[in-house]
């Protein structure tokens, strides 16, 4: 349990990058990019975790109860928004690319760009 969550982080990152590099379909590539980004949430939340601690909400627990790190959670939240924004923009590009080039294969796109 010591390092296992971090190994999962590396695995997700590596698998996602593999997908991005080998993808033959833009939408598939964008989804792989989402996977790459998801590794960062897992990393952030894993480094801020404290064994046996509560979530950082002090409504029905007293203020000095040991709680996990709230900062990484705030960072991960920001990260999720960024992910949504970038994905939307990339999808718009993909739709437009399909209209202009008639294909979604990244390699064909590179050949066709003219």
């Amino acid at each position: 349990m010591h390092i296992f969550p971090f190994l999962v982080v590396v695995w997700i990152l590596a698998v996602g990058l593999y997908g991005v590099v080998t993808s033959r379909h833009l939408v598939h590539q964008i989804v792989c990019l989402i996977v790459v980004q998801s590794s960062t949430y897992v990393l952030l939340l894993a480094v801020g975790y404290v064994t046996g601690a509560v979530a950082p909400y002090f409504y029905d627990v007293p203020v000095h109860t040991p709680a996990v790190d709230p900062v990484v959670q705030a960072l991960a939240l920001t990260d999720v928004v960024v992910e949504g924004a970038v994905t939307a923009l990339l999808l718009a590009f993909a739709i437009q690319a399909h209209k202009r080039f008639g294909t979604l294969d990244p390699q064909e796109l590179a050949d066709l760009k003219g």
Partner: protein, 96 residues
């Protein structure tokens, strides 16, 4: 009453049990990521992605991050797949 979405229940779960839960979900998440990447058929991939989002949400819950869980559910498991499906619908309409 902390509102409908407060998630403090994990507090009372004994540590070793928590460990076991986290390990299980972590393994599932790793497998989920692999499945997303290896699903090459785009529409099917979006559905797998939605499932992966759900797994991540559960993982974040075990990491005591209910706020991120909620975001991941709304964005990762619902909103993003919706956007992806719309884009695919547009692209497929022309391909047929």
């Amino acid at each position: 009453m902390t509102g409908v979405l407060a998630v403090h229940t994990a507090y009372s779960v004994p540590v070793p049990l928590m460990d076991a839960l986290q390990i299980t979900v972590l393994v599932l998440v790793a497998a989920g990521a692999t499945a997303v990447v290896l699903t090459r058929q785009p529409v099917r991939q979006v559905i797998v992605l939605s499932g992966y989002g759900l797994l991540l949400a559960i993982l974040f819950m075990t990491f005591q991050a209910p706020d991120v869980t909620l975001s991941e559910l709304t964005v990762g498991a619902v909103a993003l797949p919706l956007l992806l499906l719309l884009a695919l619908a547009k692209v497929r309409k022309k391909e047929e």
